[in-house]
Amino acid sequence: MLTAVRMQLRVCLLSVKYNIMREMLNPVTFVTNVVFMILNDAAILVQWFILFRLRGDIGGYTMKEVMLLWGLTAASFGLSRVLFTRVFSLPELIISGKLDSYLVQPKNVLLSVMTSATNISAIGDFLYGLILLVACGFSVSRLCLFLLFTVTGTVIITAFALLLGSLSFWFVRADMLGNQMVSGMISFMTYPDGIFRGISRFLLYFVIPVGMAVYHPVHIMTEFDVKMFFEVIGYAVLLMAAAMIVFYRGLRRYSSSSLMEARM
């Protein structure tokens, strides 16, 4: 069993590795994509400098905490798009019947789909996250927590996209809802939770999983809390499990469109 899991993971890592190598065939485009994505992300800091000129704190966050929030969001979203970018276009695969080529391979279907493409510019997002961590106070313990929460954030974002994307097995228009919800989630992730009150705060913790993806981790990195720590890890595991169950339930309903396609 363990050997099988290890083999599947190895195949997935190789898949990601070859995706990246393929994109590196044109080094200029590769480097431009990564560097410009870092610059693109960094431009947002202007907005925060201006906001902090108006008020000393925004939603109870200082500039350093906002940078940490941004760093975690960028790193989690970036890692999710580097490793599992196909999850974000899962509805298209389902609706157009392009899952066939994954079903006939001797690999885990979900892992195979998820790791079948890589978004190169997302490497810039991930690196930007690390740059922000260094900028707002580097230490080994903070780096360890940051990397751990980047992984949980990646799991939560990917699971949320998988959950919503899998709805396309049942509803054709679910793709638009899924895209909107995921981009809405990313928008919320870049603003402090202190500005949201009442029902909106409840939604961000229990419906759109922004709270567990970044808000709790930022609070933990600012002031360590064991209960919150295990809440985040437990939530990430449960959400991914739920998303996998929904995907495999939906896969039973999948019908091919007889599209001829080959995957090497």
């Binding site: 485009t29 994505m37 431009a43 907005q47 008020r55 228009r173 809802l177 909107q180 603003y191 500005i195």
Partner: protein
């Protein structure tokens, strides 16, 4: 080059515009699905400004809270309402994929064809987002202080000019695909400049030295100008913004034709 091959006559572009407009009417429901994204942005900014403004009478850079939120609603409305693929994705794809070889031989100028197509696309999207903005504003923010209905025609003219200037500059960036394989990263930076500096805050909120600099960029004509006229109209400001817009449009068009002319000379298509 002859008048015929350059396709200066306007009627054909009106036909293209009408065809795209009719086609996009079929997708009005799909456009409405994008309202969620707009609502999320506006919701965040309402909460943000609610937090920053400590008293209802407070002024920040000369703007009341209502004006500030309406400003963001207007700029985001322009952003979402005109965010179609024609000027960025299609131009880059046509050049990279070689489709431009077919399109450049048609009896129209390629760049004007794209602009006509783009105008047809946003002509459906923008009014829909406009209605949504007014509905959200009325329900969650309240009326714009001092708004006069009589000034709406000139605001619409300013809005159309702003969107067209933005399209011309985005097309200039896309046309760089003649030289580099992928001009998308440059589009990101341009978009981010417009988004961060132009849509989130009015220019007056920045330090004075930066204000002068931003007035020289497309931000002033694309986002700030139309939104400023909506939230704080004055005849003097209106003339200033419209003059700068016409100047920018002229310069942008010259640049666009120049880049296109240089680019097509460099074009090399492999069979197909």
């Amino acid at each position: 080059m002859s008048r015929h091959t350059y396709g200066v006559s306007g009627r054909k572009y009106v036909v293209i515009y009408r065809a795209v407009l009719m086609e996009n009417l079929q997708y009005a429901a799909n456009i409405a699905m994008g309202f969620f994204g707009y609502f999320v942005f506006i919701f965040i900014f309402i909460k943000l400004w609610d937090y920053i403004y400590q008293t209802p009478e407070e002024l920040i850079a000369g703007y009341t809270k209502e004006q500030m939120i309406w400003y963001v609603m207007m700029t985001e409305m322009i952003w979402f309402g005109s965010n179609t693929g024609a000027v960025a994705r299609q131009v880059a794809a046509d050049i990279r994929g070689g489709n431009i070889a077919y399109l450049m031989n048609k009896p129209y100028h390629y760049t004007l064809y794209i602009l006509a197509k783009y105008t047809g696309e946003w002509s459906i999207r923008l009014p829909m987002y406009m209605l949504l903005a007014v509905a959200i504003g009325a329900a969650m923010v309240g009326a714009i202080p001092g708004f006069r209905l009589a000034t709406v025609p000139v605001m619409i003219l300013c809005l159309i000019l702003g969107i067209t200037i933005n399209a011309v500059f985005k097309m200039c960036i896309s046309l760089l695909s003649f030289w580099i394989e992928d001009a998308t990263p440059f589009q990101w930076l341009y978009d981010k400049l417009i988004l961060v500096v132009g849509t989130v805050f009015p220019i007056e909120i920045f330090p004075r030295t930066l204000q002068a600099l931003f007035k020289l960029t497309p931000i002033y004509t694309v986002c700030y100008g139309p939104a400023k006229l909506v939230v704080d109209f004055s005849g003097e400001k209106c003339i200033e913004i419209l003059s700068v817009q016409f100047l920018y449009l002229a310069v942008g068009c010259v640049l666009m034709f120049l880049i296109y002319r240089k680019g097509v000379r460099k074009l090399y298509v492999n069979g197909g």
